[in-house]
């Protein structure tokens, strides 16, 4: 008996047997008219993988030799893996689509998750960040997270028991003098002496600030450098401690350098140096009453450490109660409420506290939906493939492979797929992070500043995600195909029905895909629509070709009269440059960083209503301002050099202000009056011009009352001055020229911002831009995935039903009828998907509304167009394989089984 001839002999016999079979089969195909090579390939295809069969036969023989169970499992796992790999290589298209789908889903999710993690969950390098809190007060005007006055800070610090200590923080910009390289603007933070002790941050050199540093107002001013500044600007000078540096023209002694890992408390706003509050105040020329007045609210944030065991809620209610008691004692106090943010992660930039998390979560939702879609697609592919392999699986069961073994085999395939998808997905994630680095998030935070990188946790997350996907997508089809085989194999041949359990699940997955796709398309549609409206919006000014440069003279110690002289000199030098058609200086330009100064006015001849607030925003400008910005002068004249100190006061008003107060159109020549100082009579200001309304702060803002006043009539120091220059020439070439001219006037002057008005406006649209780019990308991907999914389902359904279709056609059913039938079977999942998508979109509207302009969520036109487009693509994806099916020759289709 061959059994005794030894393993190798037996193997040779099995090989020969298989070779014989293949050759016979190939000849059979050849006799049907195939070329020899083609016939061999067909024979191999119908046989399966010869090596696998051979192995299986040999295994069967050796089974009797009682392998150890553990070795058997380990060995067969290796076999499963080899078998799976071979299967995936043989089905290249399937593998490519599946791995690609997974990689995109996992890659996008991982990248966005790492951004989310960097933006919202990363801890600053301080001791026990969990017990730190940031405290903000709500002003009398009701702005939450507004600033606090110094005396209030002292009250909170000294009269609260649930906080062990409380520090005050305010940011300021200072100019670092450098004879060799010119002045450089630095981000400084003024802090109370207890700031570093509260945080528990260590110095890497020298010492950090201590309480005694800000006790005295006249003492020696000191500064602590950030590790980055020390390294980048001072070349890691080992003798830095004790050295004197020049800040805003004053000598300040460096006492230490912070630890390398400490980058401040605010995300993306790395501080360059820290100054005691008193030193900072001196550098900014704070008026003396800043320290004593409860009305001067200039402290940006309070940072406190909770007492051991005190929960944040108790600290908040204690601060609130204290604040209410203090208001009763002194009604002029401004604080109305307290906001207390636990500082488990970095603080967000002021103004981005609510929009940034919303935006990042929105992104997360988008990629989550994409991943889900990818999973649905993969599950569909696996289901379809499992069904195509049904007879193969049936045979494996028939020859004695247990169901568990088959399920395991299918799972190993899924895991292999998911593993490859995960690895490729990581590459996708890295690419995506790099591509996104150029964009900014709401709050002006560049994505690159988040430093979103793929660390170990991201890798782990990707691995878990892949494995979960594999199990989820692999297990259901695996169980289903093995179970159904048992139930249906018996009845095979009679199974000409158009419905299967698996078909139902697959159609449900199509519905899921269509609905997710709808949500993504709707989202991107809204963002694109919104971006377009914003770009097309009439701003009231013409940003193209305008350079804006911000600088601060106050910090350089200029007296008010010197400010005026300096601005006039800079303006005339700028106007002399070739290509410059207009130039002006002002305290503010549209979309700029400077704040508006609002005031209340009375208007001669206008009687305000009982509750009417006569609030106007004022802008101080030099002549040429409207020409520089491209704001149209509707009536009257621009300012002239003659509108200076000593001559009669003049003003230019915005169109909406003119229409409000002088509806007859006779604004020119009328008089407005600013609020008068006590006991003095308010000087009348004559209106000499009317200009077109413009959007100043935001594209979505309504026109408000603006009054423009000549800078020369109000000599003063402004925190920030802006120069606006209109040029017909090359903007890029003019930027360094302007810098040079300014530093020729004062070597310590540096521009805090030198950019174009186009860019300044464009930056405001960053959320829309990022939203459009990302959502469009994901939506395109979703559409592709959904289409692939539908084509896959339809083709596999048809493959399953070829016989049924053949029978019908043989019985006289026309091709159109077959196509109609196939399309009809897909209609309900598509319609269900569209409806579910619409509902989902309406539910998500709230989340996107903040970021939209000129388009309301729930826009029927956008949604209708998307539904129609998606339905078209879906039906097309159905129609193509359906028509293919109808081309089948009925006799061949029947014989094929």
């Amino acid at each position: 008996m061959s059994f005794w001839r030894g393993r190798e002999g037996y193997r040779a016999e099995v090989s020969e047997e298989i070779a014989f079979h293949l050759e016979m089969r190939a000849r059979e195909f050849e006799s049907e008219g195939m070329e020899r090579e083609e016939a061999w390939r067909a024979a191999l295809d119908s046989f399966g993988v010869p090596e696998d069969i051979e192995r299986e036969v040999l295994e069967m023989k050796e089974h009797k030799k009682n392998m150890r169970p553990v070795r058997e499992i380990a060995g067969s796992f290796g076999q499963d893996l080899r078998y799976a790999a071979r299967f995936l290589v043989r089905n290249r298209v399937f593998t490519l689509v599946a791995v690609g789908t997974l990689a995109l889903g996992i890659g996008a999710t991982t990248a966005i998750f790492s951004l989310l993690d960097a933006a919202l969950f990363r801890e600053p390098a301080v001791a026990d960040p969990q017990s730190l809190v940031a405290v903000y007060t709500t002003s009398r005007m009701g702005e939450p997270r507004s600033s606090t006055s110094y005396p209030e800070y002292l009250d909170y610090r000294d009269q609260t028991s649930s906080l062990s200590d409380l520090a005050a923080v305010f940011p300021l910009q200072v100019s670092l003098g450098d004879e060799a390289r010119g002045a450089r603007m630095l981000e400084a933070v003024g802090v109370t002496g207890n700031f570093f002790p509260i945080l528990g941050v260590e110095a890497s050199r020298g010492r950090l600030l201590q309480r005694s540093d800000d006790m005295l107002r006249a003492g020696a001013p000191v500064a602590v450098l950030s590790h980055d500044l020390w390294r980048d600007h001072f070349g890691s000078d080992p003798a830095i401690v004790g050295r004197s540096i020049r800040l805003n023209g004053r000598a300040i002694e460096v006492v230490g350098v912070t630890h390398e890992r400490f980058e401040g408390l605010t995300l993306g706003e790395g501080a360059d140096l820290w100054l005691p509050m008193q030193t900072g105040g001196a550098l900014r020329d704070f008026p003396e009453n800043m320290w004593d007045s409860r009305g001067s609210r200039w402290i940006a944030r309070l940072v406190g450490r909770l007492s051991p065991g005190a929960p944040p809620d108790r600290a908040r209610s204690e601060l609130l109660a204290l604040s209410e008691r203090l208001i009763q004692e002194d009604p002029t106090r401004g604080t109305r409420s307290i906001t207390l943010d636990p500082l488990g992660s970095y603080l967000l930039p002021l103004g981005a506290e609510t929009s940034l998390p919303r935006f990042v979560w929105l992104l997360m939702g988008v990629v989550g939906a994409t991943l889900l879609l990818a999973c649905a697609n993969l599950a569909n592919l696996l289901l379809a493939r499992a069904s195509a392999r049904r007879s193969e699986i049936g045979i494996r069961i028939a020859i004695g492979a247990g169901r568990g073994r088959i399920v395991r085999q299918l799972l190993v395939e899924s895991l292999l797929l998911a593993g490859s998808g995960g690895v490729v997905g990581l590459l996708v994630a890295l690419g995506l992070l790099r591509a996104l680095g150029a964009y900014e998030l709401p709050g002006g935070l560049p994505i690159s500043a988040l430093g979103g990188t793929l660390d170990g946790r991201m890798l782990a997350a990707a691995a878990v995600l892949s494995a979960a996907t594999a199990l989820l997508c692999g297990l259901i089809p695996a169980l289903q195909s093995t179970r159904r085989e048992v139930a249906q194999g018996l009845h095979r041949g009679g199974g000409a029905e158009l419905r299967h359990g698996g078909g139902r699940l697959r159609r449900a997955l199509v519905a899921v895909q269509v609905s997710l796709c709808f949500v993504l398309l709707a989202g991107s549609g809204l963002f694109i629509h919104s971006l377009r409206s914003a770009l097309d919006a009439d701003l009231g000014f013409e940003p193209h070709g305008v350079i804006v440069a911000n600088f601060s003279l106050g910090v350089l110690g200029y007296e008010p009269s010197e400010v005026l002289r300096f601005t006039e000199e800079l303006r005339s030098r700028t106007l002399a440059q070739p290509g410059v058609s207009a130039a002006a200086l002002a305290n503010v330009v549209p979309f700029g960083p400077g704040g508006f100064m609002g005031t209340f006015a009375t208007v001669d001849g206008y009687q305000p209503g009982p509750d009417e607030e006569m609030r106007v925003d004022q802008v101080f400008t030099t002549p040429g301002y409207f020409e520089s910005l491209g704001i149209e002068i509707l009536a009257g004249r621009d300012f002239a050099p003659a509108d200076a100190e000593g001559s009669s006061y003049v003003a230019i008003v915005s169109r909406s202000m003119a229409e409000l107060y002088w509806p007859g159109g006779e604004a020119l020549g009328r008089t407005i009056r600013p609020p008068a100082a006590p006991g003095a009579e308010s000087p009348g200001i004559q209106v000499v011009g009317i200009v077109e309304d413009a959007h100043w702060r935001a594209i979505e803002e309504d026109a408000t009352n603006f009054v423009f006043l000549p800078l020369a009539q109000y000599p003063g120091r402004f925190a920030v001055m802006t120069m606006a220059v209109r040029t017909a020439g090359d903007v890029g070439a003019l930027l360094p020229t302007l810098r040079g001219e300014a530093q020729g006037l004062d070597p310590e002057l540096s521009f805090t911002l030198l950019t174009t008005l186009d860019e300044q406006v464009g930056d405001r649209l960053m959320p829309q831009r990022v939203g459009s780019v990302l959502l469009s990308g994901f939506a395109a991907l979703a559409l592709l995935l959904a289409a692939v999914g539908i084509v896959g389902v339809v083709s596999y359904t048809i493959r399953e039903q070829r016989r049924a279709i053949g029978v019908r056609m043989a019985l006289g059913a026309g091709r159109d009828r077959i196509v109609r039938q196939v399309v009809r079977s897909m209609l309900s999942p598509i319609v269900i998907g569209l409806s579910a998508g619409l509902v989902g979109t309406l539910l998500l509207d709230d989340a996107v509304e903040t970021f939209l302009y000129g388009v309301s969520p729930g826009d029927p036109v956008t949604y209708g167009a998307i539904a129609a487009g998606l339905a078209f693509v879906a039906l097309l994806a159905t129609l193509v394989p359906a028509r293919e099916a109808a081309r089948v020759d009925p006799m061949r289709a029947m014989r094929a089984e």
Partner: protein
């Protein structure tokens, strides 16, 4: 009777039954199954071989190498007496079982 037992039986019947007509090599058995079994063995013909070897190992078939009509060497299988007895028993069980199942299915459909 579990699912896989049932199908082991099914394939066994098909193979054993094919060999009632006389000795045959694997390829011929495969072709016969393909033609007569409405495609059960259509996807991977090779899967037949493990079953043949299993049946041989259990003494239901005997294999020997011989020449085909065209003079090629091939491994021929034939039924052993045990195989014939087994086929008899399996066929009987199958008829009873499939009759019952058909009955149930007809009821469910009707």
């Amino acid at each position: 009777m579990s699912g896989s037992d049932l199908f082991t039986g099914t394939l066994d019947i098909l193979i054993l039954n094919s060999l009632r007509a006389g000795p045959m090599h694997g390829y011929a058995i495969g072709r016969r199954l393909r033609e007569r079994s409405e495609g059960v063995l259509d996807v991977e013909e090779g899967a037949l071989y493990p079953a043949l070897h299993r049946l041989e190992g259990r003494g239901l078939l005997r294999a020997s190498w011989a020449k085909t009509e065209t003079g090629r060497r091939a491994k021929f299988y034939r039924l052993t007496p045990e195989g014939e007895a087994r086929l008899e028993r399996l066929s009987e069980r199958w008829r009873v079982f499939s009759g019952a199942v058909n009955q149930v299915i007809r009821e469910a459909e009707g």
